[in-house]
């Protein structure tokens, strides 16, 4: 793995963006209201948030497709507005709703963009072949884009986004609408890109499992502001959702459980008592000791961290 420890791939400060559209009556949408985000080289950072939060807008600004209204954005050491040209050769982007020229074939699409990035001759052929193999598009290389299924189109988009060997890759919902089998492989692939080539990746997703699995860090954005930032574990602790200790007891009901210090609430579910506690490691022995002293038989115990999904729901409130 290539190491760029401590170097910043992205350093965005106080980025604001307002869309004005509609005529004759103007509509204004404040998509970003002062977003600051840093991403270290070689990291995978997930940008999560509800629909319309500003995720795509943020990624588009970082990728030079959109100019910010206010704020400074340095990407790979370049200013995204003043040095966009130099920056563009070093980054790329793919989205979960890709579109390319309908009647071009898979290999032609990748080759077209390859040439725009300065590849030609044998080098271009090698790159196209390599990407087709990597993205498992071999049987489809001569198929027109319009004849591909959603998942295949996304793989073409992924292949295209790697055509210039980018140092920084933006993936906007890369596994949107993919079947679980393909999603797993796309995720494995994203992880490998970082591991083997040290590519910095910023992705958005609505699948919490994906974010939990892939991302070193997560930025949670809502209403154009970053509300929380950290590793998936840190976020779970920050939100103070607590952890769950699930118990199967005999007798099944123990009314005084909720009164033990550190226990936030208890619910019964399918013969299980689920106690949400502030810190499982500390409360579990205390709980067991109290139950034992009361003569309650403990048949089964499980401890669960909250899912990232719960963090999301909590933050999105």
């Amino acid at each position: 793995m290539v190491s760029f420890l401590g170097m910043l791939a992205i350093d965005a400060r106080d980025v604001e963006k307002t869309f004005r559209s509609g005529w004759p009556r103007r509509r204004e949408t404040q998509a970003l209201r002062g977003v600051s985000l840093t991403v270290e080289r070689g990291a995978i950072v997930g940008v999560l948030g509800p629909n319309g939060a500003g995720k795509t807008t943020l990624l588009s600004i970082l990728a030079t497709l959109l100019t910010p209204d206010r704020g400074t954005v340095m990407v790979l050491g370049h200013d995204v507005v003043r040095e966009a040209g130099a920056l563009r050769r070093r980054l790329n982007m793919a989205s979960g709703r890709p579109s390319f020229l309908w009647s071009l074939r898979v290999a032609e699409i990748i080759a077209f963009y390859g040439r725009l990035y300065g590849l030609s001759g044998a080098a271009l052929r090698r790159r196209v072949d390599g990407l087709i193999e990597l993205c498992e598009l071999g049987p489809y290389r001569r198929v027109p884009y319009s004849d591909l299924s959603t998942g295949l189109k996304q793989r073409v988009a992924l292949a295209k986004s790697l055509v210039n060997d980018p140092e920084l890759l933006f993936l906007d919902e890369p596994t949107l609408g993919l079947d679980p089998d393909v999603s797993v492989r796309v995720r494995a692939h994203i992880a490998r890109l970082r591991r083997e080539q040290g590519i910095t990746i910023v992705l958005t997703t609505h699948y919490m499992r994906e974010a939990d699995e892939l991302c070193d860090e997560i930025a949670f954005i809502k209403g154009g502001r970053i509300l929380a930032r950290g590793t998936p574990g840190e976020l779970k602790r920050q939100i103070r959702l607590g952890e769950v200790i699930a118990l199967r007891l005999d007798p099944a009901r123990v009314p005084w459980l909720a009164e033990i210090p550190g226990v936030l609430r208890c619910v019964e579910l399918d013969g299980w008592v689920e106690c949400t506690v502030d810190e499982a490691e500390k409360r579990l022995p205390e709980l067991l000791r109290a139950l034992h002293a009361d003569g309650v038989v403990i048949r089964n115990v499980q401890v669960r961290e909250p899912e990232l999904e719960e963090v999301f729901v909590e933050l999105a409130k």
């Binding site: 497709l65 100019t67 709703r97 009647s103 725009l116």
Partner: protein, 264 residues
């Protein structure tokens, strides 16, 4: 950017447009249909009206020029239109290329296509109406075609600018505007027959001068002193303006988010 990369990016666009063109049988048909209809109807009309050979040549030159410009400018407009139609515009503006690569690459295909149309129309004109395109000589013909190509480039880039400025809804509006301007260029009549105010507009259109120079070889005294030089100078001026307008439109589309909107 190195020369190699410059040429490569232009070539990439050329190849893309050529592939798209070759794949679309319908385009192909459309490409030939209107030009042939134009030459046949104008030729037959000139026979019905018993025009002299010179007069018939005058209007045939006009209709051939119109076809050549139209075919070529449409291809130049494809620089963005193809991507607007398939909602893939953002990819090429994410790549480290400039609009010059897009417009020049499409222009190359446009010239090849419209040259093919020209050869066909010339053959048709010769066979059906005894009209000879080479009568003025190779140089005059080359200048005439160059004038058509340059006009097409300006028109095509202007259409690109209008579309990136107003979105794909502006498509029809863009064609209408530029075609109106073209019709003023004395396609079927010398501009001396136009009212003064409109003649002034016609005099600002480069194609007017190239038509004038070419027609002078068919027995119509030139209305201008140095038509080719004037046409070239005007073309250069408009080419620069159209390029700048397109550049500004893209710049604006990056700011307003239209670039993204046209890609989803």
């Amino acid at each position: 950017m190195s020369w190699r990369n410059e040429l490569l990016a232009v070539w990439a666009v050329t190849l893309r447009n050529a592939l798209m063109g070759a794949r679309n049988v319908f385009f192909f048909f459309e490409l030939l249909f209107w030009p042939i209809v134009g030459v046949l109807s104008i030729g037959l009309m000139s026979r019905f009206l018993e025009l002299t050979e010179a007069q018939a040549s005058f209007v045939l030159v006009g209709t051939i020029a119109l076809s050549v410009v139209n075919v070529c400018q449409l291809e130049v407009a494809y620089a963005v239109l193809l991507d607007v139609w398939s909602k893939s515009l953002k990819h090429q503006f994410l790549a480290p290329i400039g609009i010059r690569h897009l417009t020049l690459g499409s222009w190359v295909v446009g010239m090849v296509r419209s040259l093919a149309v020209f050869v066909l129309l010339a053959a048709l004109g010769r066979w059906a109406f005894g009209f000879h395109v080479l009568q003025p000589g190779w140089f005059a013909l080359a200048m005439f075609l160059l004038g058509c190509f340059l006009t097409a480039w300006v028109v095509g880039v202007a259409v690109c600018a209008l579309i990136t400025l107003f979105g794909n809804r502006a498509e029809a509006f863009a064609w209408a505007t530029v075609n109106m301007v073209l019709v003023l260029a004395g396609i079927y009549y010398p501009i001396s027959v136009l009212p003064d105010s409109i003649a002034a507009i016609a005099r600002a259109i480069p194609l007017t001068y190239f038509l004038d120079a070419y027609r002078s070889h068919y027995g119509f005294a030139s209305e201008f002193r140095a038509p080719i030089a004037t046409g070239l100078a005007l073309s250069a001026l408009y080419a620069a303006l159209a390029h700048w307008a397109f550049l500004a439109a893209i710049h604006r589309a990056r700011r307003t988010g239209l670039l993204l909107k046209m890609s989803e």
